[in-house]
């Protein structure tokens, strides 16, 4: 598996859609689940985000991943990529076709981005009681929304882009708990809808294919977080 760092040449164009990603990056993970679900045959390269290749800034001035490259088309920003893939590969739908339901999903993602992802990120280095309580309270609102929707997944009978976006983030929580030896638990009754969703997502074939492709499990995720906490991130943890 090639890991591209500073000094690595930019890889030659692929005949397939290509994702510039990192194994442990939650934003990319959501896109990868979605590509699997859409049945897109894609290839990927790993970017070493601790030591980025120089040309990364040429393809995305913000220097961020994920980046999707299809032929001469390069698209960055997670949400923009979701929309782009939906436009580009419309056969398997991963967003509602009803404008209102789509707007609701977009607002859900906006709120997740605003209230959840930053807090989970800061838990990596600062697992303070305050941060943990905040994350739990956001998950409680999510539990409520799931209860109101009353479906197996936020997307209905099967996961859609919102489920995959959210999963990329909440999947980190158990590894963060293990890495920091935290003892908080989300109550099975209080977070009933959330737990039911977690159980189903955990069995989703597209998520499991991704785990296989990128050799991801709780153990290597935990090892990765430990390495981040120690100040020398090991992006190859568990390989």
């Amino acid at each position: 598996m090639s890991l591209l760092s500073k000094g690595s040449p930019r890889p030659a164009k692929s005949s397939k859609p290509r994702l510039y990603t990192a194994r442990f990056d939650p934003y990319s993970a959501g896109i990868r689940f979605l590509l699997n679900k859409k049945g897109v045959d894609y290839d990927f390269v790993y970017i070493n985000m601790q030591d980025k290749p120089e040309w990364l800034a040429d393809i995305n001035p913000a220097g961020q991943i994920p980046i999707m490259e299809i032929g001469d088309e390069i698209v960055c920003e997670t949400i923009v990529i979701y929309d782009y893939l939906e436009d580009k590969f419309p056969q398997v739908k991963t967003q509602p076709t009803d404008p209102y339901l789509k707007a609701k999903d977009k607002i859900f993602i906006d709120h997740t981005k605003e209230y959840l992802t930053g807090k989970i990120t800061s838990m990596v280095k600062n697992p303070t009681q305050e941060n943990i309580e905040y994350v739990c309270s956001v998950l409680k609102s999510i539990n409520k929304i799931m209860g109101e929707r009353g479906t197996d997944f936020l997307g209905g009978t099967s996961p859609n882009f919102v489920d995959y976006y959210l999963w990329g983030w909440v999947e980190l929580l158990s590894a963060l708990k293990a890495a920091h030896e935290l003892s908080f638990e989300l109550d099975k009754d209080e977070y009933k809808h959330y737990w039911a969703w977690v159980m189903k997502m955990d069995k989703d074939q597209h998520i499991n294919n991704d785990r296989e492709t990128h050799k991801l499990n709780l153990k290597c995720r935990t090892a990765f977080f430990k390495s981040v906490i120690n100040g020398s991130p090991d992006v190859n943890a568990g390989l």
Binding site: I70, E73, V75, C76, E77, V80, I81, D83, Y84, D87, K88, P99, Y100, K102, A103, K106, I107, D110
Partner: protein, 239 residues
């Protein structure tokens, strides 16, 4: 002469015969952009200007964040500017204001994302003085993009939603200059594409219709900004 209706604390949600209601604020660039877009799409709507310093209680029920703009379409409530725009575009498919090509659409979204992340803070900061370099750096994004496209508008030969969303922010600059006697000139030579675009947009029928309906011009806007700086925003200035 159209009447501007302001809603404040104590006011109940207005009853309207129209299916589309936009809650915003006369001088708010986000709701301004949506008004321009709705006009351009030929939609019939009621606009309500919210007194943001003393908001009506029902606003919180429509949008838990208490922010504007909020769109009500029949029983459907949508908020967040870009999400409202996409909802309108998905629902009212006549006169589309975005590209039908997935890649162009993605590029437009990325461009707007960059502009909306970086430009508003710089323009807001003009209330405290001018940082010409910071402002020019941001306006350079506009210039470069117009130059690269080589078309009269971001939308090609006609303005699209990007044109209106960018315009509603750039239009604030002359008013801010006037309100706080700032000396800033966008260089004619190195920003020739931007200047040409400004000239075209300034003549756009929907922009002029909106100026009339909201009774907003550079002079009135500058008085509004002054009142904001004085700590008592006068949302009805010039009426």
């Amino acid at each position: 002469m159209a009447k501007v209706i302001q809603l404040q604390k104590g006011d109940s949600k207005p009853s309207s015969t129209k299916d589309l209601k936009l809650y915003g604020m006369r001088f708010d660039p986000y709701s301004m952009a949506l008004r321009l877009i709705m006009r351009r799409k030929g939609l019939d709507f009621d606009f309500y200007s919210i007194k943001m310093s003393d908001r009506p209680d029902f606003l919180q029920q429509l949008n838990p964040n208490g922010q504007i703009p909020v769109l009500e379409h029949g029983d459907t409530v949508v908020y967040e500017t870009i999400i409202i725009y996409e909802y309108l575009e998905d629902t009212f498919t006549d006169k589309p204001l975005r590209s039908s090509d997935p890649a162009t659409r993605a590029m437009d979204r990325i461009f707007l994302h960059e502009i909306y992340t970086n430009l508003p803070p710089v323009i807001r900061a003009m209330m405290e003085g001018i940082e010409a370099k910071r402002l020019l750096d941001q306006l350079l994004r506009v210039e470069n993009r117009l130059q690269k496209q080589g078309s009269p508008y971001f939308g090609g030969n006609e303005p699209n939603y990007i044109d209106f969303m960018v315009w509603s922010w750039l239009e604030l600059i002359p008013a801010l200059k006037r309100a706080f006697t700032l000396t800033f000139e966008l260089p004619r030579g190195s920003f020739s594409n931007t200047w040409a675009w400004i000239g075209r947009m300034d003549k756009e029928p929907v922009i002029n219709a909106e100026r009339k309906a909201s009774r907003v011009n550079a002079e009135i806007r500058s008085r509004f900004f002054k009142s904001v700086a004085d700590g008592s925003p006068d949302y009805m200035v010039g009426l």
